[in-house]
Amino acid sequence: MEYFGLDYLFVSHQRLFWVYLLSAAIIAILYVIFAHSVREEYAKRTIWLHSSALMDYKYFFVVSFIKVAVILPLILSSKDVALYVTLLLQESFGFIAPLALSKESVVLLYTLTLFVVGDFTRYWLHRAMHSVPLLWRFHKVHHSAVVLNPLTFYRVHPVENILFGLRYALSVGVVTGVFLYLFGAKIGLVQIVGANVFVFVFGILGANLRHSHIPLRYGDFLEKIFISPYQHQLHHTVQHSGKNFGGALAIWDALFQTLHREKAASNLEYGLGKATPYVSVLEMLYKPFIQK
């Protein structure tokens, strides 16, 4: 499969894993069948072939080159961070025999900690991308999309890619390093078809609908715990772009007073609220460096 280059769709920890796309499609179809307004939205509005969507596709292609050629070699490895943290702890507090907690408990705890810490750091970096003017220049590329589709997820400036890569390396590295120090080789992940169980559940529950026009809500109570696709769609509106920074969990938004929930509507206006500052992929790449 690797030779045909489609393995990206078959790797369970990728957002575009076919199971997640399929589940998103099923949810979307059911939604369209039962929600008249959404059916109308998709009928009257050009979404898949909108110039913004076409830009997403082109950008996805170009940024793939940049990631492989430039970003990946630059990004710090979480493996190196983990080893550094473990050795630092051993150096500071001495080697300890792995704590007497069953492997099953360690694996569960590690899986949960990775997910929670990862989501927490994602919240804060995402919030910083909005609140720090220099970072907003780059994050604006993502918010310049006026229609949403699963590939909008990848409409991210390479500078932001690097920052999120560092965030990932540091959060996974530190958590793993601490667990390695405390539990040695007992470490492991609870996985479903090879993915962190929480990532899988997040994927199945419509992660790909975050960037879509399907206003899927989880209900008032659950939306205080998990960010629904609709909450993320609200974040893509000008009015609420300062709200709902969460990745999978809404608890950070609730805790730090950036949570926003409202009744589902299918006619949200996405983008920056003015004409898009980018008319080409090239502009999306260089303009953030020169334009405030």
Binding site: Y8, Q14, L54, Y154, N161, G165, A185, L189, V199
Partner: protein, 359 residues
């Protein structure tokens, strides 16, 4: 035409994304828990090694047992017992280094302490035991020897070594002290050691849990090797060399594990050999399967260096406690332990995924 162009563009993009393996939402992999890596064959080879080490040690214990009855017949018989006991100790060091039984079955936890009291690595605890043994073995002591040796520690290798060497005494000196009481004591000691080794051998022969759950077994084995290398560094080299936090700048050769028999260096080398054999028998393959080839190579290279270092001693380590080579041994053992940590870390990240997307 436009749609064809878009389709081709998307196809090419997927290809590129697949090449990089980036963009995941999350996903450090667990220790050999994904990717369907089959390590049952190398694990079986490792288990065979563990079983063989235990069997060989039991055989040596039985040979020692057979020699005890004639120990007071002649000086050469006494020396033969000393020599066989040395072999037993060195063989047991391998069993101890790879002792995974306690993590497979909790009732096996205390066995190493019953075989060798120094397994706890606490010299402060060892010293009173040796003093008590001196009293127990004294010809003037009228307490029946079976009752006097009531503690497991008295009946362990620690006790047997004391009965055979006391304070680095020569064969002739100790042989002159060998009376019926001491012979009986040595018999009780070796019978206890044999009985404990039989428990270990029986366990490894009958328990298949090591082979049933590969992921758990790799975990147990790697943790055990990291612990073993740390004990090598701390207890066996650092404490006597005055290199640990506890004894910093205060070296004392008597803290060496086999100070009395002057065989601490051989014991250290035996542990290193056990590490080498476990790497060669299957752990190297497991590491390679898990994408940790360089980490495995680092361990093997460190083992090689440590072996060479041991071989470079021209006399016993007990008479060279302040030699720079002891510090080198300490540092080498530390690097070995770090290398195991690196291997555990590398196996945890079979695929070092990078999540580089915003949201």
């Amino acid at each position: 035409m436009r749609k064809v162009y878009i389709t081709l563009l998307l196809f090419a993009s997927f290809w590129l994304q697949g090449c990089g393996g980036e963009n995941s939402y999350d996903g450090a992999n667990g220790l050999l828990s994904s990717g369907g890596t089959d390590v049952s064959e190398p694990l079986a080879a490792i288990y065979t090694l563990i079983q063989e080490d235990a069997n060989a040690t039991l055989l040596l214990a039985q040979e020692v047992e057979a020699l005890v009855d004639d120990v007071n017949a002649s000086l050469s018989d006494f020396e033969a017992l000393r020599s066989k006991t040395q072999e037993l100790i060195l063989a047991y060091k391998k069993v101890e280094a790879l002792y995974v039984a306690e993590k497979l079955e909790s009732s096996m936890t205390d066995i190493p302490v019953f075989v060798e009291a120094f397994s706890a690595g606490d010299f402060d605890r060892k010293e009173p035991i040796l003093n008590e043994l001196a009293t127990i073995l004294a010809p003037t002591n009228v307490t029946p020897i079976e009752s006097a040796l009531y503690k497991n520690a008295y009946k362990s290798i620690t006790g047997l070594v004391y009965a055979l060497y006391e304070d680095q005494n020569s064969s002739a000196e100790i042989f002159a002290k060998v009376d019926t009481r001491r012979v009986d004591a040595m018999r009780i000691m070796i019978e206890n050691i044999t009985a404990q080794l039989e428990i270990i051998v029986d366990f490894y022969a009958t328990d298949s849990s090591f082979l049933d759950d590969a992921s758990a077994s790799v975990t147990i084995l790697l943790n055990q090797l990291a612990i073993s290398s740390n004990r090598l560094k701390e207890w066996r080299v650092g404490d006597p060399g005055g290199l640990t936090q506890k004894y910093l700048g205060n070296s004392d050769a008597q803290r060496f594990e086999y100070w009395a028999s002057r065989s601490s260096l051989q014991a250290i080398e035996s542990i290193i050999v056990a590490h080498k054999e476990v790497m060669q028998s299957g752990l190297e393959t497991i590491a390679n399967e898990g994408g940790a080839t360089s980490e495995a190579e680092a361990i093997e290279s460190k083992i090689e260096e440590l072996q060479l270092l041991c071989d470079s001693f021209t006399s016993s380590v007990e008479s060279n406690v302040d030699d720079a080579k002891v510090t080198q041994l300490y540092n080498g053992a530390y690097q070995l332990q770090v290398s195991y940590t690196a291997l555990i870390n590398a196996l945890n990240f079979q695929q070092d995924i990078i999540e580089a997307d915003g949201d």
